[in-house]
């Protein structure tokens, strides 16, 4: 069933506006939302965010961790962004905290693809720009490691962050190039890299050239 929806939505070269029913459900009835005022009493064990309002998307996540089991027992969030940004963050919060909670190690491994599967797909053009919640979650977990002085466990993406505002990494750029983005503009279309922090653009151009040479030369 999920596969079917997937195909319907994504076979239209990303021009489609169709959101799956699951996306709509999470957009109109978001789960694990942080309501204003709740922050003060929540006492999060970790907080992380990604994006900026200028980029059009920003996610902030708070987690509570059981120190014994190292599982995420609660996960709350806030998002500025479009329907898919809101729905994907909502779905991520469910994935992180459902069934007794995800272990920190497993949560660190969550990627946009995992969220997409659960959402029943998204219009192609929405994937790279709006599914950023996993980065906010990793930032929250790193924050927890920092607070609990487990500095050696902090993982910054397993890749190098190129854009400090959007937390776009060299891996993201590699992926974009592999998907056919061969100019800065096209890579930006997919990743929005540099829209919040243009100072990284020379590095981005270097990387595009590097990956183009590596894969297409």
């Amino acid at each position: 069933m999920t596969k079917q929806i997937d195909t319907d939505i994504r076979d239209q070269k990303g021009r489609s506006w169709i959101y799956s029913d699951i996306v709509k459900e999470h957009f109109f009835s978001p789960q694990n939302l942080f309501m204003p005022g709740e922050e003060k009493d929540y006492k999060a064990d970790g907080m992380g965010f990604v994006g900026s309002p200028a980029c059009g998307d920003m996610m902030k996540m708070w987690i509570k961790v059981d120190p014994k089991t190292e599982k995420i027992i609660d996960c709350k969030w806030q998002t500025f962004g479009c329907a898919s940004a809101i729905a994907s963050t909502s779905m991520l919060s469910v994935m992180a905290s459902e069934k007794g909670g995800l272990s920190l190690d497993k949560a660190m491994e969550l990627r946009p693809q995992n969220i997409l599967e659960r959402l029943g797909g998204l219009p192609n053009r929405k994937i790279h720009c709006s599914v950023l919640g996993d980065k906010a979650l990793r930032a929250a977990i790193n924050d927890y490691f920092k607070k609990t002085k487990q500095y050696d466990r902090i993982i910054i993406e397993g890749a190098k962050i190129i854009d400090n505002v959007l937390k776009v990494t060299d891996k993201d750029i590699e992926e974009a190039v592999l998907e056919g983005a061969d100019t800065l503009e096209k890579v930006q279309e997919k990743t929005k890299v540099g829209t919040g922090d243009p100072s990284c653009l020379p590095d981005v151009e270097q990387l595009i050239k590097f990956y183009k040479d590596k894969y297409y030369n």
Binding site: S52, P53, C55, G56, D57, F80, G81, I86
Partner: protein, 395 residues
Amino acid sequence: MREVYLDHAATTYLLPAVKEEMDKYWELNFGNPSALYSKGMDAAQSLAKARGRVAKVLNCNSQEIVFVGSGTESDNLALQGIAKANEVGEIIISTIEHDAIINTAKYLESIGWKIIYAPVDKDGLVDPKELKKLITDKTVLVSIMYANNEIGTVQPIDELVKIVKDINSNTIFHTDACQAGPYLDLDVEKLGVDLLTLNGSKLYGPKGTGLLYVRKHTNIKPIIYGGGQEFNIRSGTENIPGIMGLVKALEIATADKEKEVKRLIALRNKFINSVQVNIERVNLNGHATKRLPNNINLTFEDIEGEAILLYLNEKGIMASTGSACASHSLDVSHVLKAIGLPYELIHGSIRFTLGKRNTDEDIDYVLEVLPEIVARLRAISPVHLDEGKHPQVKQ
């Protein structure tokens, strides 16, 4: 559920009277105006009359009206047709033109024309002083839209024409009046323009119809070749039902103009005032008074346009946004960029454009629903923009 269509700048429905007019020409009076038998000649006569009726509205000669297939085609004919008929030189367009102008200008740039952009101020008005500086003896064409489709700002076209012609009397002036059609004065003598674009789908007429007013003796060449219809400027068998519909719609709009403008301004102002009283941190984009009677363009801080649109849609309200997330190109609105709006505010912009069938009750309904939607999305949002400061994250 109540359905409230507030996207009249995108397109309008067809009025029954217009449809009725068109119905006569599909099956019964279907002739080709170029034919010599009576069915053809009847069609030719209807076409000639239609041209005369448009000429009356625009206060011009009927030979100066060229019927085309859309507003976009009319814009293309204006720019490309003038470019073809003249030696390569400079074209000035404003930074807030419709894509039909901007992308045609970009094409002309690729074949050697110099395209110069006239800047606008924060309200979207073309700065006359800046425009003055851009005009040279090489300026072949100036194209500035009458009223903007996104922010509704209305340009003082007559004054701009005067500025241009005072410096270079040979410069041709084109205005895209598609949005202005139902609301503003279309008298080409008063405006002083050489070319003016109108289309049917913005004034309760049929889609796929448009016209270009071409002032007598203006040097223009066709961009579509064929049987030489429309004074050799636009070939192709005339779309008589479409043309009759366009003309009828234009006449109705003209007859209703005074009353409808008053009614819409009252509705528009009620909308804007209520939103500004009942919703915090919302800004009006475009000029406060020099704006189309039906245009409301607002920025809701801290939230994103596509999300607002979809929540509105759930309530049966249809509007549009300048946010990148809702555009196929993922680019933000070039118009909102041109008036200097920062990205974070462009993302939260929504355009409501009123129309003939919107009632007081419709607006009351929107005004009842909108504050809840904004509050709901703001509750989800981690952003809290501080005026005059760099965007802040809620702590």
